[in-house]
Amino acid sequence: AQSVSQHNHHVILSEAASLELGCNYSYGGTVNLFWYVQYPGQHLQLLLKYFSGDPLVKGIKGFEAEFIKSKFSFNLRKPSVQWSDTAEYFCAVISGTYKYIFGTGTRLKVLA
């Protein structure tokens, strides 16, 4: 069965630290990949997505993600986090169906 793994469940960083959140998926065919973010008290919203072309995707608020097909990975990065990045981050994949498959999420806490 297809699955998405987010290995870091909780991450705590100080402001200005660099961030990398891991995401791996299990599917050998064509995939489309997403990162969603849920800020405290707010609804889930799209951060960035990859469906073709340049494997380095830039999203909102300075986030980027790199699709590495050989590693089945789509890691999220930000060079310098801010307190306002405190949120829960979800990786998701669509492959061949209507259905998104979401990872279990990573809770990021940024200390001011």
């Binding site: 969603y36 609804h43 889930l44 799209l46 997505k49 669509i94 209507y98 259905k99 979401f102």
Partner: protein, 114 residues
């Protein structure tokens, strides 16, 4: 901007009650989805609908049913609520069938079943 609204932010029900959760989107989206979100489990798809009166089971449909009589409205029904259905329920919509389609989420309904 796409707006997805859900009828309640918080709901408390008793075991055995029939529960209706309503979701409305205002952007003429064809696809609508119901998820439940639980700590450590992420989002799990309950049901989705790609057209009026059409529905497909997701990964965890047991104990739930859905209704889509109008394009903009997608209802989730708990026929006989149980305590293990205490959760956050999220509705989402997307424009059309397509691998690149962004899903737009509502604010969620936190359901507690006592």
């Amino acid at each position: 901007d796409v707006k997805v609204t859900q009828s309640s932010r918080y709901l408390v029900k008793r075991t055995g009650e029939k529960v209706f959760l309503e979701c409305v989107q205002d952007m003429d989206h064809e696809n609508m989805f119901w998820y439940r979100q639980d700590p450590g489990l992420g989002l799990r798809l309950i049901y989705f609908s790609y057209d009026v009166k059409m529905k497909e089971k997701g990964d965890i449909p047991e104990g739930y049913s859905v209704s889509r009589e109008k394009k903009e409205r997608f209802s989730l029904i708990l026929e006989s609520a149980s305590t293990n259905q205490t959760s956050m329920y999220l509705c989402a919509s997307s424009l059309r069938t397509g691998y690149t389609d962004t899903q737009y989420f509502g604010p969620g309904t936190r359901l507690t079943v006592l």
